[in-house]
Symmetry: C2
Subunit: 418 residues, 2 copies
């Protein structure tokens, strides 16, 4: 007997027919004698509909009332899944965010989960009732509804798995696991049996959007074993020995698993970044802070930062990337501060892609980065910028060369399926 | 300064454009310096959509989970109205059923309101914040969401008006008041300035569906002054001296108002009843109880009951009416008990209409009923059954003669507008 938290996304919950399919997967899990809690998203498209209403009502909507409106989508699917499970003969009830409650801070529309009162929930689960919990929502100290921000249901699932000390948190989605790279680009991409939290974090942050980044960070912190698997195939998680998806676990646990380790776990790409260059920035203390402090205050997530040597002494070119969606705000802020920063020109470019190779294996192997540069150079792919972490090397290239670069690297690191 | 509860139905809340119109009406009320609470229905069609999901999920759905699903419709409109009021510069917040809370019994999908904790709500209202409250919902002692049954938002509004000791409860709907009869049948129908609770109850129970019957009963019990008015005209309740709708008040208060009283207040019709005749029922003690006890247990609302003298001694024909929607269940129950009841034939007829004249004035005037019978006889309209209360006379006639009968009676009692 195990205690399992299962999470189903909006595509899996889109309509009563699909909810019935989800209920069958949940029932199969419960029939193994497992204690089961299910976290659900709103029906695909429903949250967009509700957010649209709020925007129509007032472009500058009150986030506290926005949370009242948009949290209703998950409330609907939670009730419907409980009803459907009952139709299949299962004991089940819904537990809304305010009923447990799932305590959060007061940052409406982007709240962070604090403590979860899981005693009543657990008592109900141990009596054989399947708990159905709307994802994405919580409760402030002041008794108001909060939501966690888009994609927050993954985070809800992991937080609940931590609170009830679940043996596993199964995230059902529309892909059947984590791949060595995007299978739409590389036909010989392989599904990974397991990756570490760190690798998943790096992969998620560079465009492999299987899981919400926050949920992976939380799983790592709380040591929750997460599995990504598909709700659209017949391989369900029901047979835990035959792992159908990809396990996301700690480094130590990965070592124990019978998984062939590669130097590189995966190759990811991200076309949603923009490049900004500021030319002839004064090369003096505080100059770079003048650039990035206002961007941080505006909550613009700057990623790669490169400082080039300028043509003249005492000056330098600064290059960085930010999400394309933030580019307009970013250039706005910098143009307003041109005098203060003292740069010459602001050049932005959205026709770029970030290609990353990720793998815990590179910690103990030198030469991963240089192998990457050589492989790209062999195909005449120009590298515009480089950034590295302990388990990741990212380069910025021309967007048109994305697919070529991914294929070249996938082969170069020996990831192609046989 | 007054304290006003305003209630807006689903047609008034159907979409952000209409919600903006509602917000303007509410703002106009608040700008008079009044303390305002607003009770809202779900967008028209939304509750049907949610009920449809529940039925698709499981024909025998758990009413506790049904309540979780369907209560979300009012949650959405409450949040959106608060956001829209803020856009107009008003202070406002939503108060969900579980937040106040509005305590109800545990009868899911048809709960009854008990105590309402209005202290925090009142404190907020007296500080100038417009309270927006989703109608139709409440909370059980066990912390589960309940709903009050279809049309329950009227009842929510009256209950909240009673709890906050409101000066008036304004029910905004798609008609601009209560008329002497259906204006679609009688062009010279007149809008009434005021009716008593008792009259409204009788009018509502015989087909004038302006207000939910339960809400009128509650208003009478709690002495809440109710006004029915339209949200689609420009005559808002903003000017309390110039009453634009119909006031529903106690008999004593009506006396104080400068309203011309008629013998009869209105003529109502109801085509949604069916007639059932059981022939040759044994004329012995307990025989009639054998018929109506099982119907009561099945929650079938039997209205008119007439016992005719049968052809043979020791036997009698029993005629009664019930809602057309319950007819199939009703005949099912009676056919299963044919032996026990001992009747000969069961005859049902749905081609009937109930015509009622209602008025507090008839308490002190004899001859109201006989005037009705004469007026109908003059036009050769056959009366199939009669029932009377202190302030109402109802007759059952052929459905085809409904409009004729209503017009004849409207003229006969001098209700036609000049």
């Amino acid at each position: 007997m195990a205690r399992i938290v299962m999470k189903f996304g909006g595509t899996s919950m889109a309509g009563t027919e699909r909810i019935r399919r989800v209920a069958q997967i949940v029932k199969a899990q419960a029939e193994q004698g497992d204690e089961v809690a299910v976290v659900v998203s709103a029906m695909a498209g429903d949250t967009d509909r509700l957010v649209g209403f709020c925007r129509e009502a007032n472009a500058l909507y009150d986030p506290a009332e926005y949370d009242v409106v948009v949290s209703s989508g998950e409330q609907v699917t939670a009730g419907l899944l409980a009803i459907t499970l009952q139709a299949l003969g299962c004991k089940s009830r819904s537990w809304l965010g305010w009923q447990m409650p799932i305590h959060t801070d007061g940052a409406h529309a982007k709240a962070r989960i604090g403590n979860i009162d899981s005693a009543a929930l657990l008592a109900s689960m141990t009596q054989g009732s399947i708990a159905v919990i709307p994802g994405f929502q919580g409760l402030t100290e002041g008794n108001r509804i909060t939501t966690l921000g888009r994609g927050g249901s993954d985070t809800s699932a992991v937080a609940i798995a931590a609170a009830v000390k679940a043996d596993r948190c199964d995230i059902y989605t529309d892909v059947d696991g984590v791949y060595t790279t995007d299978p739409r680009i590389v036909a010989r991409a392989r599904k990974l049996k397991a990756v570490t939290y760190e690798e998943m974090l790096e992969l998620a942050s560079v465009g492999a959007k299987v899981l919400q980044t926050r949920s992976v960070g939380l799983a790592m912190k709380e040591k929750v074993r997460v599995q990504v698997l598909s709700s659209f195939t017949d391989e369900t998680a029901a047979n835990a020995n035959n792992i159908p998806g990809t396990m996301i676990v700690s480094d130590e646990e990965l070592e124990k698993m019978d998984v062939e380790r590669q130097l590189i776990t995966g190759v990811a790409h991200d076309k949603n970044e923009a490049k900004v260059i500021l030319t002839r920035v004064p090369d003096r203390p505080g100059a770079v802070a003048n650039i990035f402090e206002p961007l941080a205050q505006a909550n613009i997530n700057v990623d790669m930062i490169i400082q080039n040597v300028g043509r003249d002494k005492g000056e330098t070119d600064v290059t960085f990337t930010c999400p394309m969606a933030d580019l307009a705000r970013c250039t706005d802020i910098l143009e307003n501060r041109r005098e203060k920063i003292g740069y010459n020109r602001l050049i932005s470019d959205t026709k770029i892609a970030k290609i990353s190779v990720v793998g815990v294996g590179m910690k103990s192997h030198a030469g991963v980065a240089s192998a990457m540069f050589s492989a790209l150079a062999d195909r005449k792919i120009n590298i515009q910028a480089i950034s590295t972490s302990e388990i990741k090397v990212s380069v910025l290239i021309d967007e048109d060369e994305t697919e070529l670069a991914v294929r070249v690297l996938h082969t170069a690191y020996g990831l192609d399926a046989e």
